[in-house]
């Protein structure tokens, strides 16, 4: 456990080096968030009754989504890991006395966390002080907030476990670009990154909510904004735990299978 912890620390500090990039990222995300909210505002003005969440819940949803982009977006993949697999450096990884799956898992966690920490604070601070309908609202009570933290961790783990599958698929195919683009696009759509899940029609939404993609950003963001409450909390968190375990087990099995037949050419 200790070695993963120090590995985590290393990667985490490494991620902190890119402060200028973070500043640019903050500006970008802030603008995206603002445009997103203005767009929903136009729809809200067009027909407030058809709006499935309260407007302030939606605003909080968007700001939190932008602030914690680095935790939840599957398109933030590590090119280094893809390179390691395709250029044969995987041999070095295998020499180390650590489990490759766990190592890559901690690595992704550290990278995303450092990115998120750098970027989220300024966005959150700024968003809290925006005028009434456009500002980020604090959750109703401490209980909601602790549920939010818990489900955020679970959602975060789901995202990484899913990304691990994408890395592992790379062992089996030579040209991963196509699969990568498609699977990222699929997640975007089903996880509520394109439009929040409540905006889908009822029947479709109920199916979407069972899928692993809904366990990613959808659950914590909607708990924060107060859109999921009561018994829905237990159901959502339970599903999250189920998917995290399933995805990790699947990843580990696929990884062992892949490593058994991996052939590294010399050179």
């Amino acid at each position: 456990m200790n070695k993963y912890l120090s590995f985590f620390r290393l990667r985490f500090i490494y991620g902190f080096q890119y402060r200028a990039a973070a500043l640019a990222g903050i500006m970008t995300q802030f603008t995206w968030g603002a445009l997103e909210i203005l767009m929903f505002k136009a729809f809200y003005n067009a027909d407030a009754k058809a709006f499935p969440m309260t407007f302030s819940a939606l605003v909080s949803y968007v700001w939190m989504q932008q602030a914690f982009l680095a935790l939840f977006m599957t398109w933030i993949l590590e090119n280094e890991i893809f390179d390691i697999i395709t250029n044969g450096n995987i041999a070095y990884e295998l020499c180390r006395p650590v489990d490759v799956y766990n190592m890559w898992f901690t690595r992704s966690m550290a990278n995303r966390l450092s990115k998120a920490l750098l970027r989220s604070m300024p966005i959150l601070l700024f968003a809290v002080f925006l005028p009434a309908p456009y500002g980020l609202r604090l959750p109703d009570n401490g209980k909601t907030f602790s549920w939010f933290l818990l489900t955020m961790v679970l959602g975060f783990l789901t995202v990484i476990a899913y990304c691990m599958l994408l890395y592992i698929i790379n062992f089996y195919t030579i040209s991963p670009m196509g699969i990568r683009m498609v699977s990222v696009a699929v997640v975007e759509f089903f996880s509520g990154a394109v439009i929040p899940l409540p905006f889908f029609p009822k029947g479709i939404r109920e199916i979407f909510e069972i899928l692993p993609f809904a366990s990613m950003q959808n659950v914590p963001l909607r708990i924060y904004s107060g859109d999921i409450s009561g018994t829905g909390l237990y159901r959502a968190a339970g599903l999250q735990i189920f998917w995290v375990i399933l995805l990790i087990v699947a990843g580990k099995i696929l990884m062992t299978k892949a490593l058994k037949k991996v052939v590294v050419q010399g050179g």
């Binding site: 500006m27 995206w32 027909d47 683009m181 498609v182 759509f189």
Partner: protein, 258 residues
């Protein structure tokens, strides 16, 4: 022009060498923007109109922006990936050749995989035309053609600024994404829905509205101001400051030495 034609042929031939990879990336491109379309579709399942624009009218707007952006990206891709051209020293080689630098950068990459997106845009465009009850006149047809040309030019201008900034920073700047990917993403709706301030920025600072919102009003018959037909041509003027900025950047260029 002859030189560019040669570049064009080279890139076309190179695709035929990697058919499978080309096909997969094209499909990927198609799916990625298909997401955006689905987003619009499901929003309009719930809402009938937004700012007096109906579903088919928004689709018309979205498809035109998508065509503009994809065309610009297809041909000006060399500027989009310019930071790597600078950092790996490729630009030094370009500088020593006795040809215009801009032309060489333009020719260095032509991304035909964007056809996936253009195809999708065309389908939406046709659907939008059939459903939105626009009575077509020569004026309106010309407006759409001007919009596509103007938009491609404006997006190309933004790619040029993006590249020219690399002369100073070497790295690409992430916030420029707002004007490229952001404009594509949020250009799906007419600019006016984002409110007055955004509309003003998009009119006077970066002329997105000139190639999207105003001419669209004329095409859809929401406005009878015939001046709007020529707004996209006005928008083309945006390329001039972009070109000057590029020239300015080249004078400041220091090789990375690699």
């Amino acid at each position: 022009m002859k030189l560019y034609y040669k570049y064009f042929l080279i890139h076309l031939k190179s695709i035929f060498q990697h058919k499978a990879s080309f096909l997969l990336t094209t499909i990927g491109q198609f799916l990625v923007s298909f997401n955006v379309f689905l987003g619009v579709y499901f929003m309009f399942l719930r809402f009938n109109k937004v700012n007096n624009f109906t579903y088919s009218e928004v689709l018309l707007c979205f498809s035109i922006v998508l065509i503009q952006f994809s065309l610009a990206e297809c041909f000006a891709r060399g500027f989009d990936t310019f930071s790597s051209t600078i950092s790996n020293g490729e630009f030094d080689r370009i500088m020593v050749r006795p040809r215009n630098e801009m032309l060489q950068v333009l020719g260095s990459k032509i991304e035909f995989t964007r056809i996936g997106r253009i195809l999708q845009a065309l389908i939406m465009f046709i659907y939008g035309i059939m459903k939105s009850n626009v009575t077509w006149s020569y004026g309106r047809i010309f407006t759409v053609v001007f919009m596509i040309i103007g938009g491609t030019v404006v997006f190309t201008g933004i790619f040029i600024i993006y590249a020219a900034l690399c002369f100073f920073t070497i790295e690409g700047l992430e916030f420029m994404n707002i004007f490229t990917d952001g404009a594509r993403e949020y250009g799906k709706y007419p600019v006016s829905i984002y409110g007055k301030i955004v509309l003003q920025i998009c009119t006077f600072i970066i002329p997105f509205a000139l190639v999207q919102y105003y001419p669209l009003l004329y095409v859809l018959g929401k406005s009878h101001n015939e001046g709007y037909i020529f707004f996209p041509i006005l928008g083309c003027g945006f390329i001039i400051p972009c070109y000057l900025f590029w020239k300015f950047g080249i004078r400041h260029y220091k090789s990375t030495g690699s």
